[in-house]
Structure formats: structure tokens, C-alpha cells
């Protein structure tokens, strides 16, 4: 994560929003070009701050919190200041996302907002920046960012505990693109979102079946659906109105719904490319969730360290107790493991031609290890915070409950461990090390 002085960056972003560029990449190029200009021109800066304030009335209030959040980074702690998963220091798309999150998805503000008034402005800003369709080529209505750039957005979304269907719309756009189907505007999600659920493609071109635990189905205008018939795998774009949705909630209170397709007519339907199947979709979803979990763990570590340095008990800061230090060191270890596993899996997909055994190992290992880290990490983060961290008022649950909930999407760790174990066993004992060493 690059740390940039706020005024120019905020200003550049908001001015850039006014510029009608087609793609994120183009927009980013614009940002890069404008940066020296902006730094040189104080007048332009001031104007843009005004533009920004008008567009986002409550921005000024949030700016302070975001600024405080940055000021309080454990960079002060003496560790090297560095980027993060998927080489974000080079990832201007992720930086764009990060700035929008900092401006419009500040955890404190969201946590106090019982009416979810933050959601619409956040989604609008993300959409205007082209982020939900990061993985959709410009020709198909998207902004044509690379897989690696999009993965960086997901890490950032995890760090902010983002609860709008950003990851889901990105995945849906990616799935539709596999079959060359254009993406519509607005929120989307994918079905199925669990490896055991199956949607059938009927002879008349309609879809039948039930998908459980579909994240944000109730918020989505469209679903990207992977369906099966005797001929193989197809990908479909379906309007939400064509399906029956039963609302549900995950651990974090985010929508996790059941979607029933009862001879639902797709808006578009095309065969999946050769070799693409439901496992590929599940692995991609699993890696997305792994990055989000790793990001949430980074925030848990961050706020737990900060809290331990503020809270006084037995007449000293609790960070001075060795038992607390060792718990936080373990949390750092789990966070590190999650970051390493998730960023490695993302990197492997970004550079692979298909979903082979190597990608299977990377993606399943990421989901398994990140889920294990979420379990251990969330427990430690809560332990460090004591009772205050158990309140609705405190922001900790925004990260802990979400990290725990994300474990369940696109195959949980038990499911993937069985699948990975079977594949390792089928390859044979002497092929295990060569596979691990090939990564």
C-alpha cells in the first residue's frame, strides 16, 4: 500500500472521475499523467477539493477518520513500510479502490450508520471508477483490468471489510467473460456459490435448480450462472427477477441467500470454453475469498496491536504483558500465512493458462490455510480486545465475523481439504514433493 499525501490524491481521484475515460487503465494513465501537474498547481488542487466536497457531503467528516487511520498504521512500529499481496505498490487499480474505501467505507462511520446510507454512495463511486467490472474487457462493457490488478482490489476490500457485492460482481463479470457474454451494469453475483450445488440447463434453454448461500443475491440485478446439461457446461446471464430468492444472512449479517431457478429464462446463454467447469469457478471464488480473509486479518492485527498499546490494565499497557505479546505474535503469524497463501494463489491464477494441478494446489491450499488463519486469528483479536471487542459498537466484528463467514463461500476448508487430499493420494506419495517444489 503506497502512502501518498492525501490532498493531491483525493483531488486527483475526484477529478479523474469527471473525466470520461473508458477503462480503469485509461483512467489510471490519466491519473499518472495528471499527478505532477496537480502537485504543481495549488489552484487546481483547491478547485478539485471543492468539487469533491460538493459531490460527497459527508466526505469531510470521513477524511479525518481516514487520515487518522493512516496516521496510526503500525509503520510507526518500526517494520518496513511495504506493499502487500499482488504487488500492490504497482497496482494503481487497487490504489483507486483503496482510496474509495477510505473515503466512503470507513469502518467507524459504517458501523454507526444503522440505515446503511453509506452503501449507495460507495457503490456509485466504485461503479464510476469501473471497479465492479474490473475483469471484463472493454468490448464486453468492463474496464479491462488484469487479473492481478483485480486481485489487488479484493485484498483491499478485505482490509476494509467491504460489505457490498464488489467481489461478487467482479467474479460474475469474469465468469460471463469466459463465454463471451457482455456484462450489464449494476450489482451481480454468481450461482452456484457452493461446489455441491448444481444448476441444470433444460432442453428448452431454461435453467432449473437451487443454489444456497449465494452472497448478495438479494442485492443483485443479475446472476452469472454456471449450468450443466448432457452436452457439458454453459454460462448464462439471468435477471434476478426471473428467480425466486429466499433471503438469508451470513455470520457477519451480510446477505447470503438461496436462489431457486424454476425454468428460468436466461438473458444470454453460451457454452463454457473447453476445460472450464464448476471446479474452475469454485477455485476462482475460493481465491477471491482467501484474499479477502487475508485482508481482514491484516486489519485485525492492525487494530489489535493499536488497542493493546492504548489499553491499560494492572497499571501498564496490556501490550507490555508477555502473554499478550505472544498472542499478537501468533496473530501476526496467521496473518502472514494467510497473506502468503492467498497472494501466491492469486499470482498462480494470474499467470496460468488453465486450472491444472498446480493451480488446484495453490487455490485450495489458500482457502484451507486462510480459513484456518481466520479461525485462530479472529479468536486472538477478540481475546486481546476483551469485552469491548464483543460489542456491536466496536468495529472489530466487521473483520472477524466477515473473515469467518467468508470461509463458507465457494467450498469451505473441510471440503477442499478432502478434494486436495484425494488428488494428492491419486498422484502418489512420491509425486507430492515434486508438486510442492514446483510452486
Amino acid at each position: 500500500m503506497l502512502i501518498l499525501s492525501r490532498p493531491p490524491w483525493g483531488a486527483i481521484y475526484h477529478i479523474a472521475r469527471k473525466i470520461a475515460c473508458k477503462s480503469v487503465k485509461l483512467r489510471c494513465a490519466e491519473l499518472t499523467l495528471r499527478r505532477p501537474l496537480m502537485l504543481a498547481s495549488q489552484a487546481a488542487l483547491r478547485t478539485s477539493v471543492l468539487v469533491m466536497a460538493a459531490a460527497f457531503p459527508h466526505h469531510a467528516a470521513q477524511q479525518k477518520t481516514a487520515h487518522d487511520a493512516r496516521r496510526n498504521r503500525p509503520a510507526e512500529a518500526g517494520l518496513t513500510q511495504a506493499g502487500n499481496a499482488v504487488a500492490e505498490s504497482q497496482n494503481i487499480v487497487a490504489e483507486t479502490a483503496e482510496r474509495i474505501f477510505a473515503d466512503l467505507a470507513d469502518a467507524q462511520t459504517i458501523n454507526r450508520d444503522s440505515k446503511a446510507g453509506w452503501k449507495a454512495p460507495l457503490w456509485q463511486a466504485l461503479s464510476e471508477a469501473g471497479l465492479p467490472l474490473s475483469w471484463v474487457a472493454e468490448d464486453f462493457g468492463g474496464s479491462g483490468a488484469s487479473l492481478a490488478e483485480g486481485f489487488g482490489v479484493l485484498s483491499a476490500a478485505g482490509r476494509f471489510g467491504i460489505a457490498v457485492p464488489l467481489a461478487e460482481t467482479m467474479l460474475a463479470g469474469w465468469l460471463l467473460s469466459q463465454a463471451g457474454i457482455s456484462s450489464p451494469e449494476g450489482e451481480m453475483t454468481v450461482a452456484p456459490a457452493s461446489p455441491k450445488d448444481r444448476i441444470a440447463l433444460n432442453p428448452d434453454g431454461s435453467l432449473s435448480g437451487r443454489a444456497r448461500g449465494v452472497p448478495f443475491a438479494g442485492d443483485a440485478g443479475h446472476f452469472a450462472v454456471l449450468a450443466h446439461n448432457a452436452g457439458g457446461v454453459s454460462i448464462a446471464l439471468v435477471e434476478a427477477a426471473a428467480c425466486r430468492i429466499e433471503a438469508g444472512l451470513n455470520l457477519a449479517g451480510d446477505a447470503s441467500d438461496s436462489v431457486t431457478f424454476n425454468n428460468a429464462r436466461p438473458v444470454a446463454l453460451k457454452p463454457a470454453p473447453k476445460g472450464f467447469d464448476q471446479t474452475a469457478l469454485m477455485l476462482m471464488g475460493a481465491v477471491a475469498r482467501s484474499l479477502q480473509i487475508a485482508g481482514a486479518l491484516e486489519s485485525m492485527l492492525d487494530i489489535s496491536v493499536r488497542y493493546s498499546n492504548e489499553r491499560v490494565a494492572f497499571e501498564k499497557k496490556i501490550s507490555k504483558f508477555q502473554a499478550v505479546q505472544h498472542n499478537l505474535a501468533r496473530l501476526a503469524g496467521e496473518t502472514a500465512a494467510a497473506m502468503a497463501a492467498a497472494s501466491s494463489a492469486a499470482d498462480s491464477i494470474a499467470h496460468a493458462n488453465g486450472f491444472d494441478d498446480a493451480v488446484f494446489l495453490e487455490a485450495t491450499a489458500a482457502k484451507i490455510r486462510c480459513a484456518e488463519a481466520a479461525e485462530k486469528g479472529a479468536a486472538i483479536a477478540h481475546q486481546v480486545h476483551g469485552a469491548i471487542g464483543y460489542t456491536l459498537e466496536h468495529i472489530l466484528h466487521r473483520y472477524t465475523m466477515r473473515a469467518l463467514a467468508w470461509r463458507d463461500d465457494f467450498g469451505n476448508e473441510s471440503y477442499w481439504a478432502v478434494e486436495l487430499g484425494k488428488r494428492i493420494a491419486a498422484r502418489g506419495a512420491d509425486e507430492l514433493w515434486p508438486l510442492v517444489a514446483s510452486r
Binding site: L328, A329, A336, S343, S344, I368, A417, A425
Partner: protein, 386 residues
């Protein structure tokens, strides 16, 4: 938001894969020739005749060192590949590994030129074995409580005191040790220790092997009685060993040997459960492989940072903390799952032999080379807690 920890997805470059094939071929030849048994991690590995020399001939000791000292100026990542392939094959590396990993780099940095020219090429040829003299009877993790004294005398120092838990001292040609040259100061309790190179043939040094619970005697008590160490064997700054001891730790703590020590029980478990394990066996294997893969990716990431000239001290400590706990627990998890192995599994006997051995090795893994508690203290300091 924190972005303080860094674990980038570093991949080993293509030249590493060529090298990996060479190492595997070499090890297969050694095994075929009966040089060592890969299924026998309990076999004595200090005295395999010629193995160290043959590894040296291949250019796999001192790989990263300058050619003028017998090194090969290859990358740190290439060394990583050699280390992990040797470890996974249970190759008998003990005789050269400490010199290759720790002692050689210290000499490169602090020894006078004539000593470097003398000793480093011999390390590279696999001819000399090093031990590390840190712990003392009342100074283990608390390194800076060391009392063994180096007293100035004409032309050098006289050493008096006792080192303990010194691995390989019974076969080592040299020891790199820290001795007390001054008392600690009020301001800095770490002050007053100096690093020395000790020739183990020096009169006045007595090595008493200590039996370990495995039945082997790989560590020792080393008693110094007026043992003379010449002036030019003093390494670095007098009284300033504390500045030197810490910078090498990232190398020592993040390598593949920090999570592969008991790897062989996982291979044997996979073999024993067969090609179609039930769900319980499959889940067990899957989780262990996911954890192993993650450990290795973390370790390679740190290797990449070291390769790039960074000092990822906290990241390296995390790798050793998580890695050693993993390799310590691995035999226990394998034991859980082995309860369901069919009686006619082809490798029942091997599993029955290596598993108990791995369980006996397990307790030391989180103690040697920096205890879990010390590592967590370092991580906590990196987090800004102390």
C-alpha cells in the same frame, strides 16, 4: 490499515529448476550406491564417508560465496533449492550444513583475509565441519548471560569456561563461539561478548558427548581450560558480538530446514493410505499439504527478500515460529491418521520405524536455533509492542 508484513509471491527462477534436476539425479545416484538410506532419518548422518566431499565437488557448498574463496557466486535462491532437495531426501548434510549456512558467512564478513583464504575453500570442498558455541550451562536463550571468559594474553586469548548443547562438536574441526571479554555495562547488558574462531584441536578443549533422548549423542558439553586462541581469530568488534549475532539470523531462521525436518512421515502417510483414501484420511492429507505449501511459499518469499538484499528479520522469525511448530505437530497428525492404515499397506514397517523417531525429534524443533518464545518476542518487537 497495516501493510507492515510482506510476503510477496516470489517464484524461483528457471535456472533453479535445472539445478533441482541435477541435485535429484545426484541424490538418486548416492542412494543407489548405498551412500545413505532416505527412509532412515535415524541413521547416523555425521560420518557418511565421502558424501560431503562429493557435494563439494558438485559446487553445492558455499554456493553464494565469492569464487576467490572457493565459492561459486550463485544465487541465494539456487542454494535454497539444494537445501530443500537434500532435506527432503534425508541426505546426511550435518557435516557441512552449519558451515555452509552460518559459519562461512560470518567468516566472510569478519575474518582476516588469510583465514578466509585458508578455511573457506576447505568448507566448499566439504572437508571441514563447524559447530556453534553459544549456549552455556546457565545461558541458553539468554545468550548475553554467557560467562565463558576470553582473557587477554600475549598474542591472543586464554579461554576458560563451558559451552553446552553444542551440536556436532564431537566431529567439528572448528567452532564459532562467543566469549566474555568484558563485563556487561549498566546501559547495555549485551555488551562485553566477543566472537571467536576456535580450532577444535587446540590443547585445553575437552568435548564430552551428551546422550539425547533419541539415543544419539549429537550434542556435547565443551570444556575450555586455558585454551589459547590467537589474536587473528577474533572476529569483528571486541565486546561487540551482540551487533554481529543478529544480522545473520534471518538466514538461519527462514530456510527449508525449518519446516521439513519431519517431512518424511507425510510421504509415508500418503503412501500408506493408498490412492483412494477415505474422507478422513483425505482431509488430513489435504490440510497438511495446504499448510506445507503455505509454509514453503512463505519461506521462498523470505529467501527472495534476502536475495534482494533486504533484512526481513520479523518475517524470518514468523517462518521459523510457524514452520517449527508445524514440523513438530506433523508426526502427531500422521499418528492420528495412521490409525486407519490397512494392515497390508506396503510401507507399514517403514511408517512404524520413522514415526516414533520423528516423535522423538519433535520436541527439540521449537528449541534449537531460537526458541518459540524468543521468536515471538522478536515478532512482538517488530509489531511495536516492546
Amino acid at each position: 490499515m497495516t501493510a507492515a508484513l510482506r510476503f510477496d509471491p516470489i517464484r524461483l527462477p528457471p535456472e533453479c529448476e535445472t539445478l533441482r534436476r541435477e541435485v535429484r539425479d545426484f541424490l538418486a545416484e548416492e542412494i543407489a550406491a548405498g551412500s545413505f538410506d532416505p527412509h532412515s532419518p535415524h541413521g547416523s548422518d555425521s560420518d557418511v564417508p565421502g558424501f560431503s566431499r562429493r557435494v563439494g565437488e558438485r559446487g553445492w557448498i558455499g554456493m553464494t560465496w565469492p569464487k576467490k574463496y572457493g565459492g561459486h557466486e550463485r544465487s541465494f535462491l539456487e542454494r535454497y533449492v539444494v537445501t530443500e532437495e537434500m532435506r527432503v531426501a534425508n541426505a546426511p548434510t550435518r557435516r557441512f550444513f552449519v558451515a555452509d549456512r552460518q559459519s562461512g558467512p560470518v567468516l566472510l564478513k569478519y575474518a582476516p583475509e588469510h583465514i578466509k583464504m585458508d578455511i573457506l575453500p576447505r568448507i566448499c570442498r566439504g572437508e571441514v565441519c563447524f559447530s556453534i558455541g553459544m549456549s552455556e550451562p546457565n545461558s541458553g536463550s539468554d545468550l548475553f548471560a554467557a560467562k565463558t571468559k576470553a582473557t587477554k594474553t600475549e598474542g591472543g586469548y586464554l579461554i576458560n569456561g563451558t559451552k553446552i548443547w553444542t551440536s556436532s562438536a564431537q566431529v567439528a574441526n572448528y567452532m564459532l563461539a562467543i566469549f566474555r571479554t568484558s563485563p556487561p555495562t549498566k546501559e547495555n547488558r549485551r555488551h562485553g561478548l566477543t566472537q571467536f574462531l576456535v580450532d577444535m584441536k587446540t590443547p585445553g578443549i575437552k568435548v564430552n558427548p551428551i546422550a539425547q533422548l533419541t539415543g544419539k549423542s549429537e550434542f556435547n558439553e565443551v570444556v575450555f581450560q586455558d585454551a589459547f586462541v590467537p589474536d587473528d581469530h577474533l572476529l569483528g568488534e571486541i565486546d561487540g558480538a551482540w551487533k554481529q549475532a543478529t544480522s545473520e539470523l534471518a538466514y538461519e531462521r527462514s530456510g527449508p530446514e525449518r519446516f521439513l525436518e519431519t517431512y518424511y512421515v507425510l510421504t509415508e502417510l500418503v503412501r500408506a493410505l493408498g490412492e483412494q483414501p477415505d474422507n478422513r484420511g483425505a482431509e488430513g492429507i489435504g490440510r497438511l499439504v495446504a499448510q506445507l505449501h503455505t509454509m514453503r511459499r512463505m519461506s521462498v518469499s523470505v529467501a527472495g527478500m534476502l536475495h534482494a538484499g533486504k533484512e526481513p528479520v520479523v518475517e524470518a522469525s514468523i517462518v521459523k515460529d510457524i514452520g517449527t511448530i508445524w514440523e513438530q505437530q506433523l508426526p502427531q497428525r500422521v499418528r492420528d491418521l495412521a490409525a486407519f492404515v490397512e494392515p497390508d499397506a506396503s510401507n507399514h514397517e517403514i511408517l512404524d520405524t520413522v514415526l516414533p523417531y520423528a516423535m522423538k525429534v519433535a520436541p527439540k524443533l521449537t528449541i534449537q536455533g531460537g526458541t518459540t518464545e524468543v521468536l515471538r518476542g522478536i515478532i512482538a518487537r517488530g509489531l511495536g509492542l516492546r
